[in-house]
């Protein structure tokens, strides 16, 4: 297991070939570094001393060559080191992540997500980098040290012994300081972890923080961690700096001894000047490798401490093997479940389940009912291996659940959790999540993924079909989409107007050249087409000189600026100093991030007349007016006269632009597809005027009717499958998320189904639909264990078990239990009385 490995394991597991190359390069590099010293001595003694110019050139040339080679090799060494380090880091990250995924759920109840994130993102970094340095740095520097020291002994043993005598003292003192530094570092890791946990907590609970306005509490708690970290980091850095300073001090003491003794010897003629210069250089050169060694020592200590802390934290055994042994395929179960004397005790001796006995034949359906806290969810999760039961046994087809691998279960069981998780990505990816999980990593994956027909069937069953259709209808087709689709949509558009135009007139405002469109913006009313060029997109019209000139000509500029001003002042008057919440901006032409600009503008211009405003201010107001959509932005009205002027302007603009910039815009025509708009808007050839579900239903039904006629229904649904659901599925409603979670399990067709209050977020009709589906399609095919919160859905189950305080009080068919007038009877009638 990864958490048991010492840091040295990663050094060993890194590429041996590279490590050997590294050593060779280091050896050459050291030679290249000592060589200039010898040259230096020769330059001073032979070339300068004997005044030989040709020798001076030769020696300087060699010196230069050695320096160049040494620099180049240094770069190679660093490159190899970096590669080794990053490679290990990547490996460490992947393996630790894989390990964390397998940890039991109980681990995640105490670990915060922020903590896990900081472990995988930052804490592993120092360990990884250390591995890159682990061989190169010590070998390189120790050899360099030895080489220079040897050279010094070669020059003058006495002087060498004196000046190197300082180092042993350093070696004695530094580790003592380092121990303090390590202790501080350990505390730093722990506090950083708490800090990450705290941040993770606030981010996931931000709605509670804002809802309770508990900013002060959270700031205080967070502040406490930061202050603690602040103190620890100061202590830690002080020790680290102390070590460095001490080291420097000893290092600087050396030359004093050198000058004193070396100078004395030179004056007495027992030591030549060239040798003294070379000696001084050699001593100075000792500084770098020594410093690097000391740095390495610190990095090594910090990394080891951090690494140990990290691995201790995740040192939990996964409870179950992931894959079956290579000599057996995953089991294929029929789905019989036999539970005997099952008990589950958690820390503190609290018994969540006591002596539970239960038998289900393949295909039988069981409802678990009872008050919350009675253990019904716990029982379901024990069967699903999500909790490891502590006593008794759970047998599936005679095999003990605790002995099964995760794979065995995934192949045979589908679980719909109480609050299912939807992943970022497309609807389809989420729908196929369970199926894909079984196929990932296997060959011939393509053929075994669910087909479009299967997917459509299952979303129909759970009641998501219309939702997905709607996603598809709301998609904007890429410009290069197949022509056939476009032609069909145009045909549907025509049929929609002829068949449903009158009936749905209340809900749709059709694009009509001769009428002002209340549900389109002023800009869209003027241009009445979709732009083919960027400068004619609606947002940029207020900056487009050609368009501005047109507004002037059409006598529209001033009235529109005046409208923009009214919109801004009305909006600011209503909202005043309300907090910036998206809700307040849904029906306003001003967006959240523009609010401050307009606030400032309106205050600044006060009662000035329009002609007194600067062109920039005018443009800002004009932009608002161009966005104004009377049907949506209800804080102002469009005066009748301006409305007529705009309508006139539309025709003027059409004539003008066809002459000046033909092709800049595609005018809305019954026969042309509008590429900048959604499929729905294209079919409607207009805008919907109400977002009430009833209105949407009626539009949907008529469109579905037409799509079927054109055999396009599945095509649009397929487009809808690519809908991006957002992080945690936040672009879906609670009900849609739950239906999607049910659908993805149904698609897998497992012999055992576990549903833990799987329909709690659904409305009545959807709940009934799922219940009927379970009773008709799944009965006899899949063994079902369903934790139920609503008693009106349990009549159709083969068995009902009523739980209380971790025990099954009574079990039997619904009729039997009611006839018995026991606990279920009380529950049902109690529920009725309360309703």
């Amino acid at each position: 297991m990864i958490t048991k490995r010492p840091l040295i394991y990663w050094v060993k597991s890194s590429s041996i070939k590279l490590q050997v190359i590294l050593l060779v390069v280091i050896a050459v590099n050291i030679a290249a570094r000592v060589f200039p010293l010898q040259m230096q001595r020769k330059i001073v003694n032979e070339a300068i001393g004997q005044k030989k110019l040709n020798l001076l050139f030769l020696y300087c040339g060699l010196y230069l060559a050695a320096v160049l080679i040494a620099s180049a090799l240094k770069f190679v060494i660093n490159a190899i080191q970096t590669y080794l380090g990053q490679e290990t880091l990547a490996k460490l990250r992947k393996e630790l992540y894989a390990h964390i995924l397998t940890l039991p759920l109980s681990f995640f109840r105490k670990a915060s997500s922020g903590m896990v994130v900081s472990s995988l993102v930052t804490e592993v970094v120092s360990a990884g980098e250390l591995v890159g340095q682990a061989i190169a740095v010590p070998v390189n520097n120790i050899l360099t040290l030895l080489a220079f020291a040897g050279y010094m002994f070669y020059l003058n043993p006495l002087l060498a012994a004196l000046s190197l005598g300082i180092y042993p003292i350093v070696i004695l003192v530094v580790p003592r300081l380092q121990r303090h530094s390590n202790r501080a570092n350990k505390m730093r890791v722990d506090v950083t972890r708490d800090l990450s946990g705290k941040i993770g907590e606030t981010v996931s609970g931000i709605h509670e923080v804002q809802g309770n306005a508990s900013y002060r509490i959270e700031n205080r708690k967070y502040g406490e961690f930061v202050d603690r970290l602040f103190k620890i980091r100061i202590v830690w850095n002080m020790y680290k700096q102390g070590i460095k300073v001490l080291n420097n001090l000893f290092q600087s003491l050396g030359p004093v001894i050198l000058f004193l003794v070396g100078g004395y010897l030179a004056i007495n003629g027992r030591f030549d000047l060239g040798a003294l210069v070379a000696f001084l250089s050699a001593y100075e050169k000792l500084y770098d490798p020594w410093k690097e060694l000391m740095d390495f020592y610190q990095v090594y200590q910090d990394a080891t401490t951090g690494y140990q802390r990290l691995m201790e934290y995740f040192d939990v055994e996964p409870e179950h093997a992931l894959e079956p042994p290579p000599d057996r395929e995953p089991y294929e179960f029929e789905g019989s479940i036999h539970i005997q004397d099952l008990s589950f005790t958690v820390a503190g001796g609290i018994q969540l389940l006591k002596q539970v006995n239960l038998d289900l034949k393949p295909g039988e359906q069981l409802a678990l009912v009872g008050f919350s806290g009675s253990g019904k969810s716990t029982l379901a999760q024990c069967i699903a291996q999500l909790y490891s039961y502590t006593g008794g046994s759970v047998l599936i087809d005679g095999k003990e659940v605790s002995q099964l691998t995760k794979r065995d279960l995934a192949e045979n069981m589908g679980i719909v959790a109480q609050s299912p998780y939807i992943f970022d990505g497309s609807f389809k990816e989420n729908l196929c999540y369970s199926c894909e999980a079984l196929l990932e990593g296997k060959a011939e994956k393509e053929g075994r993924l669910p087909t479009l027909d299967e997917m459509i069937e299952v979303i129909q069953q759970v009641g998501l079909f219309v939702d997905v259709l709607r996603f598809g209808l709301n998609a904007v087709l890429a410009a290069n989409q197949e022509a056939e689709l476009v032609t069909k949509i145009i045909r549907i558009r025509e049929n929609f107007q002829t068949h449903f135009g009158e009936e749905l007139a209340d809900y749709v405002e059709f694009f009509d050249e001769k009428h002002y469109l209340d549900y389109s913006s002023v800009a869209a009313n003027l241009t009445f087409g979709s732009p083919n060029r960027d400068e004619f997109t609606q947002e940029r019209l207020a900056e487009n000189p050609y368009f501005l000139q047109f507004l002037d000509e059409a006598q529209l500029k001033r009235p529109l600026i005046s409208l923009g001003r009214e919109l801004a002042s009305q909006f600011l008057d209503i909202l005043g100093d309300l907090p910036l919440d998206e809700v307040f901006f849904q029906e306003s032409p001003i967006s959240v991030d523009e609010l401050d600009d307009y606030k400032e503008l309106i205050e600044r211009i006060g009662h000035s007349r329009i002609h007194e405003l600067t062109p920039d201010d005018q443009r800002l107001l004009l932009r608002l007016a161009l966005r104004f959509t009377p049907g949506i932005h209800k804080m102002a009205t469009l005066p009748e006269m301006l409305r007529n002027l705009i309508l006139e302007g539309r025709f003027l603009f059409m004539a003008k632009i066809q002459q000046d910039h033909p092709g800049a815009l595609a005018f809305y025509r019954m026969s042309d597809y509008i590429h900048s708009q959604t499929i729905l808007d294209n079919i409607l050839f207009g805008k919907t005027t109400s977002d009430h579900p009833n209105a949407q239903d009626r539009i949907n039904q008529s469109i579905i009717h037409l799509l079927i006629e054109e055999d396009l229904l599945e095509g649009i649904v397929e487009i809808g499958m690519d809908f991006k659901v957002g992080t945690k599925g936040d672009r879906l409603s609670g009900g849609q998320r739950q239906k999607l979670a049910i659908a993805r399990v149904f698609l897998k067709k497992p012999p055992i189904l576990i549903m833990d209050e799987a329909t709690s977020a659904l409305d009545n009709a959807s709940q009934k639909r799922i219940q009927t589906l379970l009773e008709t399609k799944w009965k006899g095919k899949s063994t079902l264990i369903s934790v139920v919160h609503r008693l009106d859905t349990i009549k159709g189950y083969d068995k009902v078990a009523v739980m209380k305080a971790g025990k099954i009080l009574e079990m039997g068919s619904y009729q039997e239990l009611l006839a018995k007038k026991g606990v279920l009877y009380e529950l049902v009638h109690g529920a009725k009385a309360a309703a």
Partner: protein, 172 residues
Amino acid sequence: MNSSMEPKQPLSEYQANLEILMQLPLFAGLPFEPLKVLAYLCKRQTFQPEEIIFHEHEVDANAYYILEGQAELIRETDGEAEYTEFGEGEFIGSMSLFCDMKRLFTLRAKTKVTCLTLSRDKFQKIVERFPEITTKIVQAILMRVHEWEERLLREHALACDDCRKRLGVSLV
């Protein structure tokens, strides 16, 4: 600043909403600032004859003020027996502004109905900013419950024995 002062300009929907809300007993006595935001966040909706406005057993987080038309209150579980009718000027569902409650009745449009609706989400945003309005609105709701029962006592309840035992809603 306020354009309603200028002559000839028709009222915007927001201004019209504001005038209506100011007349409502439920919002009577609220300061002007939150009323403006309420008027801004209200929505007009139209229902065709026979269209369901809300369904029995389902959580509906909206309050409605009928601007025009007639709607009937029924219970589908009782074979669609009609209970009462609501018309122009009536306010329905104020409790939904505060908590999730499953509707006990279905409201169905009898003629074409136009109403002003306010959703709890939006209402709660206003409450976040103006917490003091809650007290006034809750008072108005409670007064309404009280008056309701008072009227019931005066007009009907003494007639039937069984009903008498179940009275006392205003004492909750």
